[in-house]
């Protein structure tokens, strides 16, 4: 294996190793570089959004109010009279064509939803 006598350090070698410098001046640039790198990683008093409890509550309330308003508007639109809204939004020329194409016959009894479906298909 290994002969310890041949690999033991001589006193001169020990002295030489002991006399090696233990420190090296890093300079200011390295310090600035390291601190900047740490800041970039989010350390040392980085600007963070401070949450104000009151304003956050107002924002949540406003969001809920907007949502509720949207839901109410949607419900109203679905439950309102569709033919009425269609006649309001339909162009006048189309209304005229529709009147022309409609056969002038005696109204026949229809099922409850039949007219609504037909008018929806016409305008939507």
């Amino acid at each position: 294996m290994y002969n310890d006598e041949t690999v033991e350090l001589t006193p001169e070698e020990r002295n030489a190793l002991a006399s090696l410098p233990r420190e090296m001046n890093p300079g200011d640039l390295l310090e600035a570089r390291v601190v900047r790198a740490l800041r970039n990683e989010g350390h040392f008093g980085v600007a963070v959004p401070r949450r104000n409890g009151l304003s956050l509550a107002w924002k949540i309330a406003a969001g809920l109010a907007l949502f509720a308003g949207g839901v109410a508007t949607g419900r109203y639109a679905l439950t309102s009279d569709v033919p009425q809204s269609a006649s309001i939004s339909a162009p006048a020329s189309q209304n005229r064509d529709a009147q022309i194409l409609t056969p002038r016959t005696e109204p026949r009894p229809v099922r409850h939803n039949e007219t609504v479906v037909a008018e929806r298909e016409m305008w939507l």
Binding site: E23, G45, P49
Partner: protein, 192 residues
């Protein structure tokens, strides 16, 4: 969005503080405490990394920066069982190893192969001990610096480098032989 700076923790009299106090303040985000810690320990770290790598100062500074970037978030894990300097050098050693393994230093993939040549470089000029260390193969140099310069035990070296203690001993013996050959001149020493 309203942005405000978090209050920076107060910190006073850095020069008189112990490492533990500096570490605690640095963990809480006190930049002056970190700077003091940096100034106190980086000179040794930079010398250690330069010697272990056998590298230029620029390469060593890159590794030192990497070392602090690893060490700062890990400060909370530091226990005072060893000195902070020793702990920091351990972090620096891992950073140096990673740097070498990434190929930045163009070294062999395995630093500690048993069949690595123990021949010194082909020169008959005497060199000083710093030059001799720098000329060692990376695996030899690392073990020799850790053991003979920094005072680590073979068990500690084995733990740090992920090798067996016997491998550390073998590497050290070979490193000493090569270093001796370089110091005395190759023709005066039988290294075979």
């Amino acid at each position: 969005m309203e942005l405000q700076l978090e209050p920076v923790p107060t910190y006073e009299k850095p020069a008189a503080s112990s490492d533990s106090a500096l570490i605690a303040a640095a963990i809480s985000g006190a930049e002056p405490a970190f700077r003091e810690l940096f100034r106190r320990h980086t000179p040794h770290l930079l010398q250690f990394v330069t010697r272990v790598l056998g590298a230029s100062r620029a390469d060593a500074e890159d590794v030192v920066q990497d070392t602090w970037l690893r060490a700062y978030p890990a400060l909370v894990t530091f226990r005072s069982e060893s000195s902070f300097s020793t702990w920091l050098c351990s972090v620096g050693l891992r950073a140096a190893l990673d740097s070498m393994r990434k190929g930045k230093r163009h070294v062999a993939e395995s630093l500690f192969e048993e069949d690595a040549s123990s021949d010194p470089p082909a020169t008959e000029d005497r060199v000083d001990i710093e030059g001799a260390i720098a000329q060692l193969a990376p695996g030899y140099r690392m073990v020799l610096v850790l053991h003979d310069v920094e005072g680590f035990t073979h068990e500690e070296i084995a733990l740090q480098l992920g090798i067996a203690p016997g491998t550390s001993k073998a590497q050290l013996f070979k490193a000493r032989r090569v270093m001796r050959a370089l110091l005395t001149g190759r023709e005066k020493t039988d290294v075979q």
